[in-house]
């Protein structure tokens, strides 16, 4: 009996977590008139969370794909901005995290502490000075203006340091004794073991850069270079009709990475290799 209550409670919690996503996907099949009627709050009566579309229609998806070609163009802008950043961040962070976790050198913890503080800095602080720096490096109006700051964010380092820490020192000492260089240790021992940590970092870093809004607005002049996320926020307050369809399409790449690595993400921070 106790087991059933536990399962019901579990289902309830999962429902709370999944409800907005399911609601969003359900709404993306509604007709845009039903959406705008649902989102206008001035008519006084209370909204109920019905997810059943009155008239199942792919009208929203049709609108998004065929009536607004700039959606697709901006999709590729997002891809150009996000993929190099994620690859760069994974590479740079794994190297640095290995050093922070396993190698001894002076000021290690102080430097890591500084990294964390810089990581938590609000964006507006670094926006204007970065504008000056990028201007001098003549990178304004160029996708690198977002890729480089994204690649060198300290988020990955602090994430991977945690998962590298769980690798027992003994295996490294053993390799060290039979003369392997640190680089060989890094590539032979460390990388395979933190594969799941890398997947988690890829997912989280991808989501961060996929939703980037402030930087492109400042660093890019012409709006043809804007990524998809800016268009999403514009759609948010202009035409409600296609907001959900755009949301679903916007989410699919992130979902792909998520489904690819969701089993790994569970193990990313534990040392027991299941």
């Amino acid at each position: 009996m106790k087991k059933i209550i536990k399962y019901i409670f579990l289902l309830l919690i999962t429902a709370i977590f999944l409800f907005p996503v399911v609601f969003m996907i359900a709404c993306s099949f509604m007709s845009s008139s039903q959406i705008s009627e649902m989102l206008d709050f001035a008519n006084g009566e209370y909204k109920n969370l019905n997810m059943i579309p009155e008239m199942f229609s792919l009208e929203q998806f049709y609108q998004v794909f065929f009536r607004r070609p700039e959606y697709l163009l901006k999709f590729w802008n997002s891809v150009i901005v996000t993929f190099p950043t994620v690859i760069g961040q994974v590479v740079v962070s794994s190297l640095a995290a290995f050093a922070f976790a396993k190698l001894k050198f002076p000021f290690r913890d102080k430097l890591f502490f500084a990294y964390i503080v810089l990581l938590i800095l609000p964006l507006q602080v670094t926006l204007v000075p970065n504008y000056i720096i990028l201007d001098n490096m003549d990178l304004l109006n160029n996708f690198l203006a977002i890729i480089l700051p994204g690649t060198f964010s300290a988020f990955g380092i602090c994430l991977l340091r945690q998962s590298i820490k769980y690798i027992p020192d003994s295996s490294i000492e053993a390799a060290r004794i039979d003369g392997a260089s640190y680089f060989k240790i890094f590539t032979r021992i460390i990388l395979p073991q933190i594969k799941s940590g890398l997947v988690t970092l890829t997912l989280l870093c991808f989501i961060d850069n996929w939703n980037v809004v402030e930087q492109p607005l400042i660093y890019f002049d012409n709006s043809t270079m804007y990524p998809l996320s800016i268009m999403m926020s514009e759609i948010g307050n202009s035409d409600y009709g296609i907001i959900f369809a755009c949301g679903v399409m916007f989410m699919i790449p992130a979902l792909i990475i998520y489904f690819y690595g969701h089993r790994d993400i569970d193990l990313s921070f534990s040392d027991s290799e299941k």
């Binding site: 697709l72 699919i252 792909i256 690819y260």
Partner: protein, 134 residues
């Protein structure tokens, strides 16, 4: 085992998704136009069939097939966001021969274009795709 099979499916789905997006980006405009009704248009010509035209109001010559349900004609107008739509204009016919109708109408102007052939049923305000050439 089960885990790897699922991963391979996800990767395949990912690659397919990106290829579909690429395909859509390239073809979205053409697909959109394919779905629209294709129409042929001709300019509105002023003139009259009878020798002594009455000068009270201007007479227009419209192709026979453009007049639908005996007093309605579809005229092209382009909205500011570039979409091409049709709107119906009422005309009164005052003569015809084997090629043209002679009509008068206070909504018709000589710089308009009238639809005389359409691939699908169109109604007022629909978006259309203009096919070049006779």
């Amino acid at each position: 085992m089960k885990q790897d099979k699922f991963k391979r499916i996800v990767i395949k789905f990912g690659i397919v998704f990106f290829i579909v997006m690429l395909f859509l980006t390239y073809f979205s405009k053409t697909i959109d136009n394919l779905l629209l009704p294709k129409v042929k248009i001709s300019d509105v010509m002023t003139g009259s069939l009878s020798e002594y035209p009455d000068t009270m109001h201007t007479h227009y010559l419209l192709p026979l097939s453009s007049v639908i349900s005996s007093e309605e004609v579809y005229v092209i107008n382009t909205l500011e966001n570039g979409d091409i739509t049709v709107s119906s204009v009422s005309v009164n016919i005052c003569g015809s021969d084997d090629l043209y109708y002679e009509v008068t109408s206070d909504f018709l102007f000589s710089d308009m274009q009238v639809v005389y052939m359409t691939s699908k049923e169109i109604s007022d305000g629909d978006r259309v795709y203009i096919e070049e050439g006779e």
